[in-house]
Amino acid sequence: MKESFVLGNRAIREALRAPDALIPTIFIPLFFLVVNVGQTARIFPSGGTPFLAGQNYAAFQLPSSLLLSASFGSAALYLVEEIEGGYFDKLRATPIPRMAIIAGRLYAELIKTVAIAAVMVLIALPFGIRIESGILGFLVLLVLVALWAVVFSGFMQLIAIKTRSAAATQGASLVFFPLLFLTPNFVPRNLLTRPMEVAATINPVTYIMEAVRSLILYGFDWPVLGLGFLVVVVAGALMLALSVRMINHYD
């Protein structure tokens, strides 16, 4: 436990030391936000679009951008670099629970994502976006997005440990990417075409996106929020169980 924090703090220190590595994590999602909203906002005027609940279309799109920025899985790229470079073995030679090596990176990912998501929301606020659920809702939103980042990077770390290859890990992130888009990211689920609706309903990311969106547009919608948290908790438990198994059998 203590070791996880020691290792996590190192990862945070390294992230702060290379702030340029964080720039894509913020600016690519914001770029999509600006482009998507810029191209479609006239179809969805805030007055005539009931699902916007009186806000502008950027408020509807913000959750996609937040989840995108939480899905870069940079923790796994650092980890695989460490495996390839041999530092991972140095850590494994110390008398710490091996899970601490993974948990440390996940903890760092949590903290990093809270900070990045907060910055992104703060950048969005001047453009007429309100968090309907207030300050408390804003904090809940940060926690949910950050937990998603932990789950996502956790699964990526599994791939890193399994393949021990940077190329394979990077490739895997592209496989996961569609999950972010097979979601109701342009319109609510009930307005999607049937195949997309089916895909979105199966896709767990949908429920996280809907939960984040509900905090921005509608306030505290407990069933929607509960489902979002349920998804991250279940996926997180699965990820942790697999991680413990895999790292303890790492040879």
Partner: protein, 264 residues
């Protein structure tokens, strides 16, 4: 007093996509505490594999091993507390400074924050890296990285220190520094298990050595005993060198490995 390293029937088989490799094929070792033990062998003989198994970084396919009296399979954490290891490829984190890396390593061995920084400072002085201590490791030269790696293997004041080719790639002066360091560490009571490609190094440093070839131990004894044995067996007129012993044991022709053995 228990042995520093005790291996019985140790085997390692790597299973991969392109078939199995039996890297270690039944190795027995009995190294008393306090020695500098040299583990020699040609490329691919199984030296690094043996080091990784003895330091709990890799499981044994068969056999048992005890290091500092602790079974590597039954109590790996127990072993990790008592050993230090510098692997063949110095695995360092380029984004940290040398000092940060040592402090982190010490903290993972359970030292408090202040004890860890005291220990880091001691080790930096020991390996003469104080000037570079607060620079990122990324900018270190190969020799500096090796010395830092050696320092990091010492944070927990190990009973048994494993060094996998500690001097490969070092200039002659740095090599002698490492030799001195190994002797000093050994004088303080640490058993040193050292693999090397340089027979000169083994001759200088080691109380005893084993030569491994193709995953099997083919010679074992003190350098002097091995040379004497070769001399009586082959009836040589002159005293053989350790090169001759190595060549005789591994069946390698002199010209092929000459580059390896004549460097000092």
């Amino acid at each position: 007093m228990s042995l520093a390293v005790e291996a019985v029937g140790v085997r390692k088989r790597y299973t991969g996509k392109d078939g199995d490799v039996e890297a270690v094929r039944g190795v027995d070792l009995a190294i008393p505490p306090g020695q500098v033990f040299g583990f020699l062998g040609p490329n691919g003989a199984g030296k690094s594999t043996m080091v990784r198994m003895l330091t709990t970084l890799m499981t044994l396919t068969a056999g048992t091993a005890r290091v500092a009296g602790v079974d590597v399979a039954a109590d790996p954490h127990g072993v990790r507390r008592k050993v230090g290891v510098a692997l063949q490829e110095a695995g360092l984190d380029p984004r940290q400074t040398g000092r940060e890396l040592l402090v982190l390593q010490a903290r993972l061995f359970g030292l408090s924050r202040s004890d860890a920084s005291v220990r880091a400072q001691e080790l930096l002085e020991l390996v003469e890296l104080t000037d570079a201590a607060d620079r990122r490791i990324k900018g270190y030269s190969g020799g500096m990285k090796r010395r830092l790696d050696l320092a990091s293997a010492l944070v927990n004041q190990p009973e048994v220190l494993f060094l996998d080719e500690p001097t490969t790639g070092l200039d002659p002066a740095s090599r002698v520094t490492v030799w001195d360091e190994v002797r000093r560490i050994n004088d303080q009571g640490t058993t040193v298990f050292l693999t090397t490609q340089y027979l000169e190094e083994a001759d200088q440093l080691c109380d005893r050595l084993a030569i491994i070839d193709g995953g099997l131990i083919v010679r074992e004894g003190s350098p002097a005993a091995l040379k004497a044995d070769l001399r009586t067996r082959t009836g040589l007129a002159a005293e053989p060198t350790l090169d001759d012993v190595f060549m005789d044991a591994t069946g390698r022709r002199r010209d092929r490995v000459a580059g390896d053995v004549q460097e000092v």
